[in-house]
Amino acid sequence: MDKLIDDEMLVAQFQAGRQNAFDELMKRYKSKIFSYLLRSVRNYEDAEDITIEVFFKAYRALENWQPKAKFSTWLYKIASNLAIDYHRAKARNPVYALDDAEIPETHLVATDIHSDPVKQLEEKERGLIIREAVDQLSPKQKAVFMLTRYEGLQLKEVAETLDMAEGTVKVHLHRAVKRLQTLLRPLWENNDI
């Protein structure tokens, strides 16, 4: 299929009954959506399941979709909502969190780094600690941070994606960056970077 055809045109083709158009949309976005969800949920299986759910929901809703926003923004909106639901469900269900064999969310990153930085800050562990810090953001802060930082969405698009005012997006973004700075500060204060 012609790569020059824009997403909205493909949606129109799908709405006109051309099934292949949806396949092309999946092909274009599956990697982006999977990556976004993987960064958000940090579990391959869950990211895959939610990615499938995103496209399933998109397929069901696409028939009545109106091009008020970009298709990609709409798709990220579905993914973000599902990711937020996932985090809420996970927060409500401590058994599920333990099954995931992850460090509990209450774990204080900075405290651990101070206690024994030389031994603990091996390369892999450092990556884990940093991602844990990102996990400590609230679901909305995390969504704003991920969408702007790694998905390349503009603040306006994030506002549309998350149904927020642009000013609110900025507030979440500021809080997210400040929180990350607080949590990760020990890493560079101990000359580990």
């Binding site: 999946m26 990615t51 399933f56 930082r149 900025k170 960056v177 700075q181």
Partner: protein, 209 residues
């Protein structure tokens, strides 16, 4: 944390590269004279660089993406099937009022009777014309298409393993997996042919040794 609270938001925006162009030049000027904000920008930038590095390690492997489309269509097919049964249930419950308190039992009996009749006659029950399963059929066709694509990928992978790694055992395992996946299709013959070729190649090697 910067003591210069007035520009804290701008410091974050500047580090994040989302500061509006109109504010950028004045803020750069401000930075020249404000040690607090300079340190804040450095600190935010360091935090962001760290998260960028850590996030870059999270890479989606190609194989993880292979079955997405097929699984989406499987999900659609399953949902359509569910809808079909729920519609069937709704259809029977909607006519259930004359049954009164025995409605559930009556509906179940009618449903079982219909299923049994359908099995005996060899024809699925079709209470309404609106139960056309076009979407489900479409999903099934797509599932088959993606299944075939998956078979081809597995074959390619097996051949790559053979040619690049010369790992006969792994190649054989991959071909067997492909053959298993291809049950009921002509791809099993392709798998058999490659397995035979592999075996003869391995035997030749053994003879040379």
């Amino acid at each position: 944390m910067p003591k210069c609270k007035k520009s804290e938001g701008q410091a974050i925006d500047y580090a994040y590269k989302v500061l509006p162009p109109a504010e950028e030049v004045p803020f750069k000027e401000h930075l020249k004279n404000c040690q607090d904000c300079t340190e804040a920008v450095e600190s935010y930038t360091a935090a962001l660089e760290l998260t960028d590095q850590a996030q870059a390690e999270l890479v989606v492997p190609e194989y993880a993406l292979r079955n997405i489309e097929m699984n989406v269509y499987k999900r659609l097919a399953a949902s359509q099937e569910q809808t079909w049964f729920s519609r069937l249930g709704t259809y029977f419950t909607s006519v259930g009022s004359p049954f009164g308190r025995y409605k559930t039992a009556a509906v179940s009996s009618v449903a079982i009777a219909l299923i049994v009749a359908a099995v005996l006659i060899g024809k699925p029950p079709q209470p309404e014309q609106t139960f056309q399963l076009t979407e489900m059929q479409s999903a099934e066709a797509r599932i088959e298409e993606y299944r075939e694509q998956g078979i081809q990928w597995n074959l390619e992978e097996a051949l790559i393993t053979h040619h690049l790694r010369n790992d006969a055992w792994e190649t054989e395992s991959q071909l067997n997996r492909m053959k298993e996946q291809a049950q009921g299709t002509s791809w099993t013959k392709v798998a058999d042919k490659h397995l035979q070729n592999l075996q003869s190649g391995t035997l030749n090697k053994t003879q040379q040794n």
